[in-house]
Symmetry: C2
């Protein structure tokens, strides 16, 4: 999908390894309305600190992103490197430095080689093209096995509005070389605070609901640029029909990218939705789903295709959710394996095992305590996860 | 170590597999003072519910323990099975049924085969011997590769007081077949409430400070029986010199057993102490140490012998502990790898990698925020952990 007014470019700058795309640029011909969501980790990389500082103005015109080095835990030098790179990019593009957003993903604790970024900038800017987004999606990959992009269109005030997104991430959210990054470009005409509102809401329902290994990164960043070239009536309130249509399109795009990340989870062979229903409240529903989704024992049983509901109920029991152990139901797909806290026998287990053999399935846990529901998306924990992460930096 | 007045026996009752010790009995010739600590998991196995009910009386005379079946999530039938087994054991021993404690470890959701326990009881009681504790330690093993026992002696009021403990557990605390169980026998003369006080304090500093995979079990149980045959002046207050001596001996024994569990962690090749110093308070110190110790990425890096401090600082950043990312120090053994939030270079990393090659080492994280310290004991996450848990029930 091309969106009028946006161009993209990626080059191999040799930041950590040679001859792989590792530096990307997203450019909006005019300053765009911008919103961002950043890692909640107390340890924040230099580009995140700079991005948080700049996103407050609600505008941006370019995103410069590198893989290979996270520029995290790099102190004052790292902060200076981020500022220098953004300044160099601004100069090459002929725009205000404060309109440049920076993002990095890669090894923590190594300094960003500014001279390599500087040397590559001419080629990078020269290569800007309306069709280059796929290359940028490749440039931000680390342990990802596939580039991740998604697109949506919606109609607002009679005008077609486009959204184009890209993401990377394979450990969720792995602090070494698999930070989660996501960039979305849209031609919508929308006020900055409403854009921020919809972005945050979308992130809550997508990237904040996936888990590969429970870790979070120093560099996680989600940015959206809206350049208003669609010509729709400007969206200026959160709850109008137009705003809701835009929000739903954005949320759908973010969930699409989030599920691509889970499916590409390090070593993952299966994508699993953990759904907790009839909980006392939403916090308990989501907390219970998250505890189950993060349990190494549950995830390893998924890998082994073992309908080991004992591990699920044990994870549930430490989640803090209120329930009566003699009332709980557990289903794998549409197979009711546990009813009223009791196993439903060998035939049900055999059917549940069939469900587990699929690449994608849902585990539903009915707490019978209230009316709240929570969903978390996860993957299995495989031998390859260990291999990938044990051998990582070498 | 033999302790006067205690006898032990174990047999192969065929509860789940044939020809392996799976039923154990610990017997005190006279009713002993007793204390217990049980799982905090909301889902509790029938033997745990029965044990919690009975421990309130502060006395017990026998512990009947089986492996193979956890008798968890077994409903009313499971509760009835636990009561029936304790009644049968009481009859065979000629004691009050309420003085029998029951413990189980094994697969969740399967009913305990009462008839197999009943059929084995005569042989079990007939085999009681002062030297049989090693056999009981074997009978409670599941994925454990070695039986775990420890002993201590101390002198109280001029009398030698002995403590003998056994434990099982290899996943921490794995809800399938690797529940943590621990039984301690002592000849100390001690009041029930003081025994409970010291047991709880010891458990807090030992079993509650280890982690293999962050999971907790439906069946975790720690029991202590004190039969007063040592002839020491009865310990009746928590803070006397005698009480402190006893508490320290018990705490040391429990820590010894806890570290044996970590060292035998499923697939573990290394035992690692995570020590957080100079935190704002003890909760943050322990919480930070626990978050690091439970991180799959950190544990996999230990397995890969990769001095990947980026994963440690990222886990620290999501732990909730307060610190300044530009002040943190991290040491592997006595090698300072990160100082003031910055890597100390290739030479330090090479030395840190040497530390990681050891079977046992300490990672120290200095938050420089306050004076509190917290320690957690963990192991690495290996390919064998996945193999063990993926193939488990088959």
């Amino acid at each position: 999908m091309n969106i009028k007014g946006f161009t993209y470019s990626a080059v191999a700058a040799g930041i950590r390894k040679k001859e792989r795309l590792d530096l990307g640029l997203i450019f909006s011909e005019k300053p765009a309305v911008a919103a961002g969501v950043f890692t909640k980790n107390r340890v924040k990389a230099a580009p995140v600190l700079l991005g948080m500082e700049r996103i407050g103005q609600g505008r941006a015109q370019a995103i410069l992103v590198n893989s290979g080095v996270a520029n995290a835990c790099t102190g004052k030098n790292g902060m200076q490197a981020a500022r220098t790179c953004s300044g160099l990019a601004a100069a090459a593009l002929g725009i205000d430095e404060n309109l440049v957003q920076i993002a990095s993903t890669g090894v923590i604790g190594e300094q960003l080689p500014v001279e390599k970024v500087a040397a590559a900038l001419d080629e990078l800017v020269g290569g800007l093209s309306p069709t280059g987004h796929e290359e940028v999606a490749r440039a931000i990959m680390t342990t990802d096995t596939v580039p991740k992009t998604a697109e949506r269109t919606c109609t607002i005030g009679g005008k077609e509005v486009k959204l184009l997104g890209m993401a990377k991430g394979a450990g969720m959210i792995m602090p070494d070389m698999a930070t989660m990054l996501c960039f979305v470009m849209t031609d919508a005409d929308i006020a900055a605070d409403i854009l921020q509102h919809h972005l945050l809401r979308g992130v809550m329902q997508s990237f904040n609901r996936i888990t590969v290994d429970g870790d979070t990164s120093t560099n996680d960043t989600v940015l959206i640029l809206a350049n208003s070239t669609a010509g729709n009536p400007e969206i200026i309130a959160p709850d109008t029909v137009e705003s809701t249509i835009f929000g739903a399109a954005l949320a759908g795009l973010l969930k699409d990218l989030a599920l691509q990340i889970v499916a590409d989870g390090e070593g993952a062979t299966k994508t699993v939705t953990i759904k907790v229903i009839n909980a006392a409240n939403e916090d308990e529903a989501e907390g219970a789903a998250r505890t189950i989704a993060n349990s190494s024992l549950v995830k390893t049983a998924f890998f082994g295709e073992d309908a080991n509901w004992g591990r699920i109920i044990a994870a549930l029991g430490r989640s803090g959710a209120v329930f009566d152990q003699d009332s709980v139901d557990i289903a794998f797909g549409d197979v009711l394996l546990v009813h009223g806290g009791l196993a439903q026998g060998a035939a049900a287990e055999a059917k549940a095992t069939e469900v587990l053999r699929q690449k994608k399935f849902t585990v539903t846990v009915d707490l019978k305590t209230g009316q709240a529901t929570g969903e978390i998306y996860t993957c299995d924990l495989s031998i390859d996860y260990i291999k990938i992460n044990a051998d990582y930096r070498s």
